[in-house]
Symmetry: C2
């Protein structure tokens, strides 16, 4: 098996995802997928299929209310396919990029640079699949036990709920089998904490998880890659800041945290500090949050999690690179350095491009949704960022959008899911030298 | 006269502006400045003084209603001082930066690089003052004629109105001597068009105006600088896009453009496509605009006008540089080129820094204002961007902010006015080499 040598490997990713979404759409349209045994309209089906494959979790119909058990299993399969697909393909693209760079440094022929051999591909695919299944199984076991022992579900029903929510959590999909997402479990740490652990680990990304695993099992293995260090530190800082800000802002809001005791507020506040990155379950009514909380959540959703994982957004490393550019500028240094490593100008420009294209997409979607709907900027910006970051949180307007608005979110989920990855790798693979150079001139900045 | 060789020249700018604002605050607090002959509270005075010196135009009290004629003349003087100051100092800083860069290229001693000789300083100061006075005088003459002939003002009163609004327009200050800004003149082209011409020319910036003047008067002078080309093209593109979008979005809004005939809609639409960059007069009720129009206006206000002029914002060149980075990335080129000129990585990073610091400031101010006030994101974001971009447009919430909110806007106007200029020049002057270099490592982007 080889990635194609003709055309761009990023195209394979886009084509593969579109195919899976199409298959999902057809399956979800079937009468057998709906609780009422009728055909589901194609806009609803394509929205739900895209939301599942892109592991977003935005919904235009209530998941347990509209879909039959067959439909729910289809959704679960689409989530699993989307999650495995993105982790595998992003990891492979990462390998292609670093291989290409190594070869370029060695000045080797460029014709082989876009291919990976069978061994490497197999190692990545098996690694992703086994890691995912282990994490999902562990989460499912804990959830099932709790469902059966604390809530009186039968083992069959309890394990179905456990497996579905474990898959939805590890893949950062945010689909739940309750009309209120996970609000009924808001203060149940036995449900919330395994789910948080699953979506945080899934959201760190395969390369970081793989490094953590090597550190845990391979003794004497010491060095952490720059990527892992930035991801872990950046993820942690956003997690802390998000938790503190959101818990603080909602502490006395009677429609959200104000309802709970101190323990409950801390647990639910932590959940809502972490779920925007980009799990998408909610244990509070997001529509009742303060506008300042929505704005903080917007930032957390836009940044998202680690690269080559199940989280969306522009990714922690992309954000961190730009932060280090500003630090370098403040110090007056001609090169950007992070933790004793130099960052090339090409990487900085790629990070900048990913962020600016992301901002432009969210801005355009927000503008169009403002024109199409009666909702204000708070709700519409939140919805756009949630779709772009494949988060799935909503103030509650998703189901009230006109069909054109729903299709716009479909496009946004798809580009938000694949855009940053494929854009970054496409840019990295297109790097090439220029044989001559033009005279330099300096416009005034600021 | 020399700019100081010790410390950073940008400090002089900040200190100078703070001093003028302080003097203005004291003058405006005096009973003689108020219509009712009483002391004005210090928060109101410092807000108005900052708004005038930073040529913003946001107001917490009605200008003709609260201030006496003496107070209005103080405001006019503060606008003139602020406008001349920013044009002069930004132009001088631009010279220092380009001098420093030339010297660095010539590998000369660095000790002289932060000084300018008397001749250069005199040339810039005289150029700025004479250009400003000529533009203001021409605008004042047209406005005065119209005030006297069409609206029956006496020559004394008419010329007072003409001079005040001409100074306010050329300096992009946005202060008007009517409670409704310029809404009463919405469809009067003899008032609106001279004001638009004045604020557009002032907003292009002294370096561009100086080049235009040389092209008009010095025959045989052909080459346009990269800075002038980017500014003129970028300003024009935003002017066109802003006018088309805002006219289109408000066309049928009965509370705004819907009131007027086709000619009126086009004139008022054009005015509101241009006034966000960053004049700040309004001929429509901004509070009645559609949320989508507010969002488009936010972008126009954030970008602003040309460098070293009276417009605020991050500036057209800064925005254009980042757009060309994306273009270079899309083409896979290792260097950024604009119109046959190479742009150094340092300049790209400086532009990036100015934009990201601006985004961070606006975000923080918006977040704090959301926490302090009952207003929604539409209005609060608009207010923050208007203050940062020293625009002066408002949905009408400025006067209803708590004192802490007003002081936050004071800080935002000050940093918005001086931040991009001083930040960019400080960064450019701090550029230095690094004697050794660290190994390169590449985190995953996206
Ligand atoms: K999600
Ligand atoms: K202004």
């Amino acid at each position: 098996m080889m990635l194609p040598t003709h055309g761009h490997p990023a195209r394979v990713v886009v084509f593969g995802f579109a195919t899976v979404i199409l298959v999902g759409t057809v399956l979800l349209m079937l009468p057998v997928s709906a609780e009422n045994g009728q055909l589901t309209p194609w806009v609803t089906a394509v929205f739900t299929s895209t939301s599942a494959v892109c592991v977003t979790g935005l919904i235009v119909v209530d998941t347990p209310g509209h879909w039959s058990t067959f439909g729910e299993v289809v959704i679960m399969g689409l989530i699993q396919a989307g999650g495995l697909g993105i982790m595998t393909l992003a990891s492979l693209l990462g390998l292609v990029v670093s291989r290409r760079l190594r070869l370029r440094v060695q000045r080797s022929a460029q014709t082989e640079t876009k291919t990976l051999d069978l061994g490497e591909v197999r190692r990545v695919v098996l690694g992703v699949i086994s890691l995912s299944l282990i994490m999902e199984a562990a989460t499912a076991v804990v959830l099932t036990m709790r469902m059966v022992h604390a809530y009186g579900y039968s083992w069959a029903h309890g394990s179905y709920l456990g497996v579905f929510h474990a898959i939805s959590a590890f893949n950062n999909a945010g689909f739940a089998l309750y009309p209120d997402s996970l609000m009924r479990y808001a203060t149940d740490g036995w449900i919330c904490i395994p789910i948080v652990v699953a979506f945080v680990l899934g959201g760190l990304g395969f390369p970081v998880l793989f490094e953590i695993a090597r550190h845990l099992w391979a003794r004497g293995y010491r060095r952490w890659s720059l990527h892992a260090r930035i991801t872990l530190l950046g993820y942690g800082m956003f997690a802390l800041a998000g938790t503190v800000l959101i818990t603080g802002l909602e502490w006395s809001n009677p429609a959200t945290l104000g309802d709970f005791g101190t323990d409950g507020r801390l647990l639910v506040g932590m959940f809502h500090g972490l779920t925007p990155r980009t799990a998408g379950f909610n244990t509070l009514d997001v529509g009742e949050m303060h506008p300042a909380t929505l704005l903080v959540t917007d930032v957390l959703m836009f940044v998202g999690g680690g690269s080559a994982g199940t989280a969306g957004g522009i990714k922690v490393t992309t954000f961190a690179l730009l932060a280090f550019v500003i630090l370098a500028e403040a110090r007056g240094e001609p090169q950007v350095h992070i933790a004793g490593r130099r960052i090339s100008n090409e990487v900085v420009r790629q990070a900048l491009t990913v962020v600016l294209v992301g901002v432009a997409l969210v801005f355009l979607a927000t503008l169009v949704l403002l024109m199409l709907t009666p909702f204000g900027l708070d709700a519409v910006l939140f919805e756009s960022v949630s779709a772009f970051g494949t988060v799935g949180l909503s103030t509650g307007i998703t189901g009230e959008l006109p069909p054109l608005g729903e299709l716009l979110l479909v496009v946004l989920m798809f580009t938000g899911r694949l855009g940053p990855i494929t854009l970054a790798s496409a840019l990295a693979l297109r790097e090439r030298g220029r044989r001559y150079d033009l005279p330099e001139e300096r416009p005034i900045v600021g």
